[in-house]
Symmetry: C2
Subunit: 206 residues, 2 copies
């Protein structure tokens, strides 16, 4: 369910605003989906709503968090200390949502040992230890395109089965490994496509 994080985000905002109960209509609006879809999604988790009243914000938030597996922690390592890697290392968004970045790695011996955002960059060979001793379970690939598959292979070999990839390449992995790719250029190209459609529509009907 790719929409659960969106619901959780909306619920957290409501809880911060001190709201204790919410109807499917309101929550759906806050999450940007239809109320029927929201109810169907939530019904798959179990019946946590009360008819005539709505959903208990705190209760539902913790049920969703549990369904997403956020009750345990998922230590993260970032591979590749180029521009993007350093940026991600400095980014606080991970920690704010409960993902601890426990290591920064690079394959270049000249970068290993350098300090980035208060952490010492470690060699790729440390991966096995990190997985075994520190429970490392998520790898973030922030290398250049040509190093991404190697980085991915190293992560998989060390036992990691969740990979977040920022390189604009198609990674090949065993089927029990989950990969999510975030490609900024692809996003911009999709926006360009929409922009062009707008321009064409405008030319036809000014």
């Amino acid at each position: 369910m790719a929409r659960l994080p969106g619901y959780l985000r909306a619920l957290t905002a409501l809880a911060d605003a001190g709201i204790a109960s919410v109807s499917s209509e309101e929550l759906a609006g806050a999450a940007g989906v239809s109320s029927a879809m929201l109810r169907k999604d939530l019904s798959h988790l179990g019946s946590y709503g009360v008819r005539g009243v709505g959903y208990d914000v705190e209760r539902l938030a913790s049920e969703i968090a549990a369904a997403l597996g956020l009750t345990q922690d998922w230590p993260v390592a970032i591979v590749g200390m180029g521009n993007l890697g350093r940026a991600l290392a400095a980014y606080r968004g991970f920690a704010e949502r409960g993902f601890r970045v426990i290591a920064l790695l690079d394959r270049d011996p000249r970068v290993v040992g350098e300090e980035v955002s208060g952490r010492v960059v470690r060699p790729m060979a440390d991966l096995t230890t990190l997985v075994r001793d520190e429970g490392l379970s998520v790898g973030v690939i922030a290398t250049a395109s040509d190093g991404a598959q190697d980085a991915c292979d190293a992560l998989v070999a060390a036992g990691i089965r969740s990979v977040l990839n920022f390189a604009p390449v198609l990674l090949s992995v065993p089927e029990d490994v989950a990969v999510r790719t975030v490609d900024l250029s692809t996003e911009l190209q999709i926006l360009a496509f929409h922009g062009q459609r707008n321009a064409v529509a405008e030319a036809v009907a000014p």
Copy 2:
């Protein structure tokens, strides 16, 4: 068609490797889709393939680029010079794919005037001028969550209709404005979900 950028990426790689012609089977493999789907997608653009031979790599690449609107340029501005904004400003991935970052902006007067990655940070009020005189057409929101809607409103008011949003919020915009949201935490949460499913599956059948 959200898959066109993927095809274009694969075609560019093939062209760099000196390959002039490709079958739907091969290209589909390189882009990570089925051959039937690839052919159906391409047939919507027009018939650029030759039966018995395949597709001309250069020709198809330029047709897709045209369909995506990449023949014209789409100047980009980045709003919000926090950690993420500075990272994106330093990132070369945009320029490599033909998107020129022409301005960096921030609403904080203490940040305006500062130099970031060789560019002077400009105030939000410059947006109108940028759109009118420099053809600015894409806005990237890299502010904190609570400033994202304001930044978005400013972009829309200046006439921008393509927005790439990195803040973990649901932006409300007029319907002729295209928004794509990239939320790193959401991606990690989805990975956590898969990771948990793996762990459960393993416990059931070790």
